[in-house]
């Protein structure tokens, strides 16, 4: 072997042997550092507690008024009681405060400004790094953002308990999966920056459309049957509608398990899709700005 060759035989094997633990450790560090970074900027999130309370209040009064005007003798609107509707509003917004992240914007900015070059000269998977950072952000949000929002909103508007206490556990699991689906989707959208000029506009539009398609704004049960069945085939319901309806007890037994499996499948499927899109995009990469 010539002296100048960079590859050392056996190097790869050795990396496989000790690789797993070392690599996992690296991605844990990225999550930890993201957590610390957001902790340093926590002041920004205090105003967020107020705005989420306002979102919930607005929807609370809207749906209360709607229920007040229902025909005599009708108990349900869109298949929900008023108490369920209020829980729906609270949980979907509180859930959003946890599952939301900005990795689409972060990735897009790195691509547009050419910073992505510095990620590409590192021996790691950019997608996994970004997801680890999103995980760090999610943990920060859970403790410093979602929890305070919950503490303000629940006593203020009244969240009813689920029909079965076991649903607390299933709801937490379902929201964890919702976070994963949302993060994969955001990564995919961020990748579009390799192809689109005005990616920030797309991201802004996506944010608004998502509030509708994930069911945060209005429960799917308010819509015609064809719309509901169309939503069944899209990943967006996994981000909010599924975990919230799990809590309300609208998915029981077999249905519940299937819903969670579908969520997990979306998370995995979108991860694989993200991986593919990433490798195609990197080949196409033409960096702007030097």
């Amino acid at each position: 072997m010539p002296e100048t060759a960079i590859t050392v035989p056996g190097n790869e094997f050795e990396r496989w042997r000790r690789g797993g633990a070392a690599t996992a450790g690296l991605y844990v560090s990225f999550a930890r550092l993201a957590f610390l970074k957001f902790l340093a900027y926590r002041l920004r999130y205090y105003t967020g507690v107020v705005s989420y309370t306002v979102f919930v209040a607005g929807n609370y009064y809207l749906f209360t008024a709607l229920f007040a005007s229902r025909p005599a003798g009708e108990e349900l609107i869109g298949g929900l009681t008023l108490a369920q509707m209020i829980s729906y509003v609270i949980l979907s917004w509180v859930g959003r405060s946890f599952t939301f992240n900005n990795i689409d914007r972060t990735l897009a900015q790195q691509v547009v400004q050419g910073e992505i070059a510095l990620q590409l000269i590192k021996p790691f998977h950019v997608q996994t790094v970004m997801l680890s950072e999103a995980l760090g952000e999610a943990l920060f949000r859970l403790l410093m953002f979602t929890a305070p929002i919950l503490l303000v909103v629940v006593p203020l508007f009244g969240l009813s308990s689920p029909p079965d206490p076991a649903l607390y556990g299933w709801t937490v699991l379902s929201f964890a999966l919702a976070f994963l689906v949302n993060a994969q989707l955001n990564f995919l959208v961020g990748c579009l920056a390799f192809y689109l000029k005005n990616i920030i506009g797309v991201i802004r539009a996506k944010m608004v459309i998502m509030e509708f398609l994930t069911g945060v704004l209005v429960p799917f049960t308010f819509f015609p049957a064809w719309f509901q069945s169309a939503m069944e085939w899209l990943p967006f319901q996994a981000i909010s509608y599924v975990p919230v309806t799990v809590y309300l007890g609208l998915r029981t037994g077999h249905d519940l398990i299937i819903s969670l499996i579908v969520q997990a499948a979306w998370a995995l499927g979108l991860f694989v899709l993200g991986r593919l899109l990433w490798s195609v995009s990197v080949k196409h990469v033409t960096l702007q700005g030097g």
Partner: protein, 349 residues
């Protein structure tokens, strides 16, 4: 010996959209954009043996950064071949990046919100550097770059010079044998520039790192590299040692002579007789004469003048590398055609 870097017939095309003028042109652009192919790197070939420090220079937009991006695996070329220690950068990118370091002067690879030392720890994990080797490397850089005073500050609070020193350390922590530097002294003051240059000389001599350096600052080149590759409009227009460049361009020398008695330049031209020199027209005490070292020795010119006239003072100015390169850029297009006979010339020498 096999060279560490081998670049063969490397080309990179960009597609650019050319905008039409006026409102109507804007509307037409929406429907039918006018696309053109721009060749940023055009048939570039060179080789770099291990341990060498080579300057890669050219004007803005000449294709320097594009070449570096292909060599670091960030960009995939349109055509051509690159082999670095047996690896193809863009194809084996993730594996390849373990063996190289890179500094892009305009950007930082450090984490903006983290203390410098935290970034270094993270890099240690990214590259899976053994604790002992990491300690050794870090201690060396702390000493050579004087990092101690700001090692615990967040990167965003560092001055540009401090940040560059940290970036250099960051690029070398995992002990790469090859370092790419894209304008490492851009925007730095004289003192900071000097400390970067001293450091680069140290790592070349102590660690034997191979370095490919792009820069606009020809001072970097003069102090660090014996060999340079000049690129213009995507093509290599010179590849060789700086001394060779000097002699090829003619190596002009300017001699300033201060006489004790006033004289005209015409009379001085008579003194140098048939020597191929050019006197700047004028009369008085101070005169300037220019010639090429290739044609005539400065000693001969001086002897001729001193023997004939009472001389008060003499000053010899060599053309600096910057002027030489500027000359090369200007001749860039012409170069492509007579490159063949020049190659022969170099071969004969």
């Amino acid at each position: 010996m096999e060279p560490l870097i081998r670049v063969e017939n490397l080309c990179k095309d960009y597609q650019v959209t050319r905008r039409r003028e006026g409102v109507w042109g804007g509307v037409v652009d929406l429907v039918k954009p006018r696309r053109e192919i721009l060749r940023a790197v055009d048939d570039v070939s060179f080789e770099i043996p291990a341990g060498e420090m080579v300057g890669y220079i050219g004007a803005n937009g000449a294709g320097k950064s594009t070449t570096i991006k292909m060599l670091t695996g960030i960009l995939t070329p349109t055509s051509g071949h690159v082999s670095v220690g047996g690896l193809v950068p863009w194809r084996d990118r993730t594996h390849y990046t373990r063996h190289i370091g890179a500094v892009f002067g305009q950007r930082t690879q450090l984490w903006w919100d983290l203390a410098v030392i935290e970034s270094f720890h993270l890099l240690r994990k990214i590259y899976e550097v053994e604790e002992g080797a990491y300690r050794k490397q870090l201690d060396l850089f702390r000493e050579l770059l004087g990092l101690d005073e700001f090692l615990h500050q967040p990167v965003r609070k560092l001055s540009l010079g401090q940040r560059m020193r940290c970036d250099l350390a960051a690029a070398l922590l995992h002990g790469p044998r090859l370092l790419f530097l894209d304008e490492p002294t851009i925007g730095l003051d004289v003192v900071a520039k000097e400390s970067v240059r001293v450091f680069l000389r140290e790592i070349r001599d102590q660690l034997g790192v191979t370095v490919l350096l792009t820069t606009h600052d020809l001072g970097d080149i003069q102090q660090l590299c014996r060999r340079i590759v000049i690129i213009d409009h995507g093509k290599v227009i010179f590849d060789g040692e700086i001394d060779e460049l000097r002699s090829r361009v003619g190596d002009r020398i300017k001699l300033t002579i201060e006489l004790r008695e006033a004289a005209t330049s015409a009379s001085l031209a008579d003194v140098t007789g048939t020597m191929p020199v050019i006197w700047r027209a004028g009369d008085g005490l101070v005169h300037e004469v220019e010639f090429s070292r290739r044609d005539v020795r400065s000693a001969e010119v001086i002897r001729a003048v001193v023997n004939d006239r009472p001389v008060h003072d003499l000053r010899i100015e060599e053309q600096d590398i910057e002027e030489i390169v500027r000359g090369i850029y200007r001749r860039g297009d012409a170069k492509a055609t007579d490159a063949a006979d020049e190659g022969q010339e170099a071969g004969d020498a």
